[in-house]
């Protein structure tokens, strides 16, 4: 996490985390048109732009909720670059045309590039985590789900009709299993700085 001073635009991030409709509307009004025109000028249409924007907004929501999003650059540049890179990645996936996204960062100032790469790392970790979670057995998934939904492990035990000792142990072991898989996963090593 960057230790630089937080940018005044952080209120937009807080607004997203709080599901503040006025803030969300203002983001659409002020920052989305630029994204739309970029995507339309680069082999995309408005529907595709709408999807990209939504995906990025949900990503920012998740990152903000995980308390891992402290804006150190203007929102405008950060948001635009995220959407642009997401779109170029889409293009790369769906077409056989060679798309180069190599030198995006060179034209961008450093705090913005740093912020964008933090968010992209967050997204990759989240995707890896989701994939690993799906690999868990049903019981593990269930115990973890309730452990992180209900207030106390006593409630979890009651809900699943098993003993407190059992859910406690199971929760530790299932979290451990995820830990082990994620550690083993090679991409985690490259993501971890």
């Amino acid at each position: 996490m960057a230790k630089n001073t937080v940018h005044p635009d952080q209120y937009l991030i807080e607004g997203l985390a709080n599901n503040d409709s006025a803030i969300i509307r203002s983001i659409y009004k002020k920052f989305v048109p630029k994204v739309v025109s970029y995507i339309r000028n680069n082999s995309g249409d408005e529907d595709q732009a709408q999807d990209v924007v939504q995906e990025i907004m949900i990503l920012l929501f998740n990152q903000a909720k995980a308390k891992q999003l402290q804006l150190t650059c203007p929102f405008d540049a950060y948001f635009f670059l995220l959407c642009k890179r997401k779109w170029l990645n889409e293009l790369k996936k769906t077409s056989n045309k060679a798309v180069t996204i190599s030198d995006d960062f060179t034209s961008t100032n450093e705090p913005t590039a740093e912020m964008v790469s933090q968010t992209e790392v967050f997204e990759e970790k989240q995707q890896l985590f989701d994939a690993m979670f799906q690999r868990l057995g049903e019981k593990c998934q269930e115990v973890l789900k309730w452990s992180f939904t209900l207030k106390s492990m006593e409630e979890v035990a009651e809900k699943l009709n098993v003993t407190y000792g059992y859910v406690r142990k199971k929760k530790s072991l299932c979290t451990g299993q995820l830990t082990q898989w994620i550690q083993e996963h090679s991409s985690f090593k490259s993501l971890k700085k």
């Binding site: 909720k65 530790s172 985690f188």
Partner: protein, 240 residues
């Protein structure tokens, strides 16, 4: 031991360790780089789990709100009139034709689309029997044939609906369908949490024999509060 390590991680994070144990753990962390890195990952996994589940309702609300606002924003520009050219009618007609063919010639669902089972975790509750461990390992490796004799030995001493269920699934997968049905029927007549799973497995046994009518009849007896009712619903839809 791996298990003890993860239990210790969790106890430390929950603040359940004695002062002595806590200091000892912190000392180990500072000395052992590998342990420290694993502990970091463990903490990160916990954060991910919190993000995934704790905020699930918030995220749903956010997504719904976002979609509405997004629509408001994009809609006004979406009133362009598209002229339909003759070749478009041709395409539309062929799509309708294909759709018709598809609808009147529906394919029946296959057993293989539905035979995904949860893993068996049978050996974590205290006493561990070697046979049970072997059965569990073979089952989770989908080596059902190998699992069957182990289950049979275990069931002679220790009969529980859970073990019976996994035994039944192994039989079903090994094409010993009648035997499997006997096992599932026995669970069905009891009152364990495996009751509905057993009924679902009975339906799958029918599906495997392509007896769609019986499959459907059995599915209809599963109460809608069954934890995997979505699968039941999906299969019923496809059978219709």
């Amino acid at each position: 031991m791996k298990e003890e390590k993860y239990i210790l991680f969790d106890q430390y994070l929950q603040g359940e360790l004695t002062d002595e144990a806590r200091l000892d753990f912190e000392k180990k962390l500072s000395e052992n780089h590998e342990l420290a890195s694993e502990f970091e990952t463990f903490k990160e996994v916990q954060i991910q789990l919190e993000t995934k589940f704790d905020f699930a309702a918030d995220r749903d609300a956010f997504t719904a709100n976002l979609k509405t606002i997004s629509k408001e924003h994009f809609e006004p520009e979406k009133t362009k009139v598209i002229s339909i050219k003759p070749w478009m009618y041709m395409i539309a007609a062929s799509v309708v034709l294909l759709l018709g063919l598809f609808l009147f010639n529906p394919s029946k669902p296959g057993f293989e689309e539905y035979n995904q089972y949860e893993n068996a975790y049978l050996t974590e509750r205290g006493t561990v029997s070697e046979n049970l461990k072997q059965a569990e390992t073979a089952f989770n490796a989908k080596d059902y044939k190998a699992a069957i004799p182990f289950f049979e030995t275990v069931l002679k001493e220790n009969k529980s609906a859970e073990i019976q269920y996994f035994y039944g699934v192994s039989l079903l997968e090994d094409n010993q369908i009648q035997k499997a049905e006997t096992v599932f029927n026995e669970i069905k007549s009891g009152n364990s949490i495996y009751k509905n799973k057993a009924i679902y497995a009975l339906a799958l046994a029918k599906l495997k024999q392509k007896d769609y009518q019986s499959c459907k009849e059995i599915l209809l007896t599963i109460p809608s509060d069954y934890e995997h009712y979505d699968k039941v619903h999906e299969l019923l839809d496809k059978l219709d």
